[in-house]
């Protein structure tokens, strides 16, 4: 399964990938993007992509702008946020835009499993 991790922080991308491995998703093939604009290019160029995990607050194109752009282009690719803000308002905004979930940082492998597993069934 090909998964895109979008975050402007290399450190955070590495932590997300490490935590995904710890959560048992070591069979995923991970691609990385450094902002929303780069993520959109990957989404548009890789038809095998199965899931996008994106930060919210990024330069060039934010995560929510990325999600809006994907849906406007007709992409129904599963999308989840992994972000430092987990307010009710942001969760509502994410859900309304079509995100499956929002994982707030800091996170654990257990949180990843509990949040992501239901959508893999």
């Amino acid at each position: 399964m090909k998964v895109l991790v979008a975050d402007d922080s290399r450190v955070m991308r590495q932590i997300v990938v490490r935590t995904l491995r710890q959560a048992g998703y070591d069979w995923w093939e991970i691609t990385e993007a450094t902002d929303g604009a780069e993520a959109l290019e990957v989404v548009n160029s890789d038809p095998e992509l199965a899931l996008v995990l994106s930060d919210w607050n990024m330069p060039n194109m934010t995560g929510i702008q990325l999600l809006h752009a994907m849906r406007q282009q007709g992409s129904d690719l599963p999308f989840g946020f992994v972000t430092s803000e987990g307010s009710t308002e942001m969760r509502e905004q994410a859900e309304a835009a079509g995100a499956l979930f929002l994982i707030a940082k800091p996170f654990s492998a257990e949180v990843f499993r509990d949040t992501i597993d239901p959508f893999l069934a």
Partner: protein, 164 residues
């Protein structure tokens, strides 16, 4: 631990209401245990005099549009090296680059700032983190809350500031 509560405004955070609890400490403990240490108990309040910082680094995020404020983290350069090493799960002999130090300290500020912002009901916009060897110019009277922390024997200072 040094806790200096000078005002109840800024960021919409009622620091007087903190009472004997400190949600900022709880946030810091959670961030360090989950992202940095992989286990709880290695971040604690700092007791006693604070050493003069050697080559301090500062990272901060601001909240704008509603109760503007700043979350600032300060640590010595040597501490930031070890923080980054822990964040990236690097071995003791692996070289830590300047870019990773800036990225790592900025991300810690970002995650702490995002969680502090979530404490207040007002909506606002969180900036991307900034990192500098220079402390951002904020008047001392705009300090809302300060927390000195002991991470593996090293001093890390978290503070909240009111912005105009």
């Amino acid at each position: 631990m040094t806790t200096d509560v000078t005002d109840a405004g800024g960021m919409g955070l009622d620091v007087d209401a903190l009472g004997n609890t400190d949600p900022i400490l709880s946030i810091a403990e959670e961030v360090f245990s989950a992202m940095i240490d992989g286990e709880p108990g290695l971040l604690n309040p700092w007791y006693g005099d604070r050493p003069d910082p050697v080559e301090p680094m500062h990272a901060w995020v601001d909240v704008h549009e509603a109760g503007s404020g700043r979350v600032l983290i300060e640590a010595e350069r040597g501490t930031v090296v070890e923080l980054t090493r822990a964040l990236l799960a690097m071995g003791p002999d692996e070289e830590v680059t300047e870019a990773d130090m800036v990225d790592g300290l900025g991300e810690v500020a970002n995650v702490v700032g995002g969680n502090v912002k979530a404490l207040v009901p007002e909506t606002g916009v969180l900036t991307l983190p900034q990192v500098s060897s220079e402390r951002p110019p904020t008047p001392a009277e705009d300090l809302l809350h300060e927390l000195a922390l002991d991470w593996r024997g090293r001093l890390v200072v978290l503070s909240l500031w009111r912005l105009p």
